[in-house]
Symmetry: C2
Subunit: 177 residues, 2 copies
Amino acid sequence: MRPASHKHLKVGDLSRQSGKTVRALRLYEELDLLHPVARSNGGFRLYDESALTRIRWIELLQEAGLSLHQIQSLLQAWRESRNAPEAMATVRETFSRKLAETREAIARYEMLARELEGTLEYLRTCRACRPPRTTKQDCPQCPEDHGMKQEPALVAGFHTDPGRRERIVLPVLPEGA
Amino acid sequence: MRPASHKHLKVGDLSRQSGKTVRALRLYEELDLLHPVARSNGGFRLYDESALTRIRWIELLQEAGLSLHQIQSLLQAWRESRNAPEAMATVRETFSRKLAETREAIARYEMLARELEGTLEYLRTCRACRPPRTTKQDCPQCPEDHGMKQEPALVAGFHTDPGRRERIVLPVLPEGA
DNA sequence: TTGCTCCTCACGTCACGTGAGGTGGC
DNA sequence: TTGCTCCTCACGTCACGTGAGGTGGC
C-alpha cells in the first residue's frame, strides 16, 4: 500500500509527459494558468492528470496566436462569468477571430512555400554554372538561363549588399544644386 | 535642379514604404543586414531603392522561421564563398530545410483550424442551454447534447481550474500507508 | 552518504517597443 | 522661430533558457 500521493506527478514527470520545460510550467503557475493540487512537505509541486489537459489547452491557444497574458484574460472572463451562455459568448468571439487569423496564416505559408519552391527551382540551374561565377561580381548580372523572367526575391536580396568595407566610407553630400 | 540626393530615402520614408518600424531598420543595421548608402551632414541615414529589396528578403526569411542571427550567418556564408555554385549549395540547403518546415507548419495550422471549427460547432449548442448553467458547477458535467462524443480540448481546459481560493490551501500529505 | 530531483532567485535572449533628451533642415 | 524628422542611448516586454546556491527523499 502506498500513500494517497501515488498518483501525483512532480514537475519533472509533468514536464516529460507534456513536453514543456520545468521553467515553462513554473511560469504558467506564476501567471495563474496552472496550479499544483498540493505541495509536498519539502515544497515539491504535486499535480494530477488534469494538469495535462490544461497544458494541452494552453498549447492550442498559443498555437492560435494568443499570448499567455491573453490566455490569462480569457480564463479570467470565464471565472467571472455567472453562467454558461455568457461565458461561451466571449469564448466564441475569441475563437472565431482566431479561426479567421489561422486561415490567413495558412494562406501566407502557402505563398511562402511557393516562393521557396520557385527559388529552389531557380537555384538548380546555378549549381552547374560554367565557368563558376564569383558571387560578388558576376551573380547580379548572371547570364545563365534560369528559365524565369526574373530573379526570385529570396535570391535578389543577397546582391543588395554594401559589404563591410564600404560602410566605413562616409560620402559628403553636395551642398547645393 | 536638386542635389544628387533627391532619390535618397530617409529612415522615415523607408519605414513607410517597407512597413517596418524605424527601430527595426536600425536594428537590421546593427546586425549588419542593411546599411544606408550614405549619411547626410546632420547624420541622417540615406538609403536607395535596393534597401526595399533587402528588407523584403529579410521579411521572407523571417517568415520562413529564420532568426535575424541566422540570416546574418547566411549572408556571411554568401560573402565568404568564392564562387556561385559554392554559395548556392549553402543557400539551397537552408531553403529546402525551410520548405519542409513550412509544409509541416501548414499541416499544423490546418489541424488547428479543424480544432477551432469543431469547438465553435460545439459552442453553438451552448448558446441556448436552458436553464442557463453556471459554468463552475454545471459545465463540467454538462447534460446538454452537443452532438459529439467528447468535449473539445479547447473547452475542456477551462474546467481544470483550481481557482484562486484553493491555491492558498496547502494540504499536508499523509506520512505513511 | 550518494544521486537525482526539486526549490527560489535572478540575469540572459530575441526582436523589437517606447520613452528621454537633443539636433537637422525646410 | 515653429514643426516635423532625425539622432543616440537605454530600459521594457514576452516566453522562456540558463546558471547559482541550496534542499528533499529513496
